[in-house]
Symmetry: C2
Subunit: 420 residues, 2 copies
């Protein structure tokens, strides 16, 4: 390939057309690597995909590697995927590292599928109890002062139990974290001028469910945002392209995706999604409604089902988060809850964000139960399943954030423990 | 689709096989959306891709949307791409938001292409002036205490000039930012035991270039890491899969990708990449060598070539970073450098990380030059092109970090200014 290198360099190679002129040479050199160079209708290389090779490479230091491309790829040896159902898809928490969720692995939840939206035809209307109703295009929204923050989103129904053979993805996979970029909702509200009698706003999405929630106005002047970017690029269709309401720390369904209308009001509108759904009966004949904030929670993602550990040093790892602010402390028990030790937290510790924790444990080979619990900056402590059931008067339901308990048996196999 | 919903739900739909059983119904509902459900050899749905529709959708609220999938996708209206040459590919800085670079848009630089590496056959050997030479598998590395940090990587040759029609991607696109996860190098060095006479280590990659650099030992006990994850998942082949040396703030070539060997030594080994390359002559007949740290730099990414702005409010935006620590301040001039104002920085401000800045400007419609300069926590101030040429005694070269100057003409068109 050295002669090809020289030829391309003297043609001032920093553009795609030169790559095209030497495509035959490039293909020759790269065919052995199982590269697929996908051409678009103009004959330009649009994608480089690496496939499993027909014959294994034993020494990569002896083979010219693949050239740079217009988009990177995952290794063929890495296949993280979501677990989809008809209306949701769960993030593979146990296969991830750090705290950022890759955008294509962010959990999904919809009520009538993901709409196909042309951004050039999408407006955000803000009207109702305002001085001046206004309609904003995406370009309008992007002109306002820009803000960025890393925070989690969690579905209020993010709890599953019932079997001992559940992964973190299956138990708790309706939560993910991104770096979000957009405009503060308060900026737009100041633009239209909120009338003094307004105390709520309804937010409506442009999907076939016309997903709509009523939000107390003070959240708009706290940390609510209208976001258009996720992990550095345009928000994904599954997460609300081209615009989403971001309400840091609040239940996912309130953070309306495919946002197209906001109406300022003096009362909640009691939409389907806050009456028939996302409410639940509690002891005493009352109903929990407008339970916005996600309570502090944690889960050990390693070791977890279906892994098997060996006797000796094991670093227990997981994530913790709270809709009320920062995680203050995570405690880990390796003796079935009899005693608790403080885990280390990965800094910087951000408000309303997944926080990685770790605890170095020396397993003696004897069966035990391990678990973690989160304490947030308000002092709230994540409850056990039994404590939660007693407090709620029901098993399961929305905002169900009990401690996840893992059993390690004598063989080092890990299983979920239910109802503890 | 309501009847289909009911059938799937009563079959406890949270798994792919149920999706398959109702695939015909799902395909019928989704065919109108131009979905492509790609099957693997076992007949399972492996990919959901959204294509341009043959007939435009005018009202997405009237059409059932796409179901959740195992991987998300970009909108068809968003096509961010890198700009590849034969040995590098540049990040589209002007098309991004916030500070995280999507993993498939992270810049690339290689010296013999991207190697194809089977992680199960990849070892990291640490030997030389150590008490106990050891070879670590990827699984071994992952057992050590885990750390995560967000930081930038920049190529030392990240500067381009010569035309007025260059984008930020073309001028400065060999820098990107990720959340990196791995183990502290000091932990592995304590594992093998470093002999007291050692003062350097050489790091060698498993690519066909056998890319090798000599690194002073004190960096290993500062913040050096061996990383295996990027933005929450396995590091990408283009960035060094399965293991990379991370030296926060140092020039990109020292952060050896596809890392397979570290040798502890008492002197630099004067490899090709630190003698023939990555060095340069300076005034007085000397050579700049081992210029590790990337100096503070900033660039306005909006407005930039080839955009056009209108009279009125414009929020000037960009990123700033320093290999020495935090950005202390970014200053913006909108009057050709005669005066400077302080820009706002997006918090939290991290060490050795791209930091977003913004400055609200009211353009009066008259031609001018705009520019930004970074000042880091050491007090170092980003120089102008002329200051840098005078100090270095040469135009261009490695670690060339001058202020980027944009011209706004009377029509609001933006062009790059060279040699200022």
């Amino acid at each position: 390939m050295k002669e090809d290198n020289k030829i391309i360099n003297t043609r001032a190679a920093d553009n795609l057309s030169n790559l095209k002129m030497d495509r035959r040479s490039m293909l020759k050199g790269t065919a052995a690597l199982g590269l697929v160079l996908v051409e678009d209708s103009l004959g330009r290389v649009t994608q480089v995909a690496r496939q499993t090779l027909p014959t294994p490479i034993t020494n990569a230091t002896k083979i010219q590697g693949a050239p740079p491309g217009i988009l990177g790829t995952r290794s063929v040896f890495e296949k993280p995927v979501k677990l989809p159902s008809f209306t949701s898809a769960r993030t593979p928490l146990q296969d991830l590292y750090g705290t950022i969720t890759p955008a294509d692995l962010h959990f999904e939840r919809d009520h009538a599928g993901v709409p196909f939206i042309d951004p050039s035809k999408h407006d955000l209307l803000i009207h109702g109890m305002v001085e001046k109703p206004m309609s904003f295009t995406l370009e309008d929204i992007k002109r306002f002062p820009v803000f960025t923050r890393i925070c989690f989103i969690e579905c209020s129904g993010n709890f599953r139990t019932g079997k001992t053979t559940l992964t973190p993805q299956e138990i708790c996979g309706l939560t993910s974290q991104s770096e979000w970029t957009g405009v503060m909702l308060s900026t737009l509200f100041r633009e239209v001028g909120i009338k003094s009698k307004a105390s709520w706003f309804i937010a409506e999405g442009g999907d076939a469910a016309l997903m709509t929630r009523s939000i107390p106005l003070n959240k708009a002047f706290d940390d609510a945002m209208i976001v258009y970017a996720q992990n550095g690029e345009a928000i994904r269709p599954e997460q609300g392209y081209p615009l989403r309401l971001l309400l840091p720390g609040w239940e996912g369904n309130t953070q309306i995706k495919w946002l197209k209308r906001i109406e300022l009001t003096d009362q909640p509108y009691m939409t389907r999604e806050e009456t028939s759904k996302y409410t639940e009966p509690i002891a005493g004949g009352k109903i929990r409604q407008f339970s916005f904030v996600m309570d502090a929670r944690s889960i050990i993602t390693f070791p977890s089902y279906p892994l098997q550990i060996s006797r000796g040093w094991v670093e227990i790892r997981g994530i913790a988060w709270s809709g009320r602010g920062r995680i203050r402390r995570v405690e880990v028990s390796v003796d079935a809850g009899r005693s608790w030790q403080e885990a280390s937290l990965q800094e910087p510790i951000l408000r309303k964000a997944h926080t990685a924790f770790r605890y170095l444990w020396h397993w003696n080979g004897r069966a035990t139960l391990i678990m973690s619990r989160a304490i947030d900056e308000t002092g709230y402590r994540q409850p056990s399943y039994r404590e939660l059931v007693k407090a709620r008067g029901s098993k399961g339901g929305y905002h169900f954030n009990p401690i996840t308990v893992w059993e390690i048996n004598g063989n080092g196999e890990v299983f979920l423990v239910n109802d503890r």
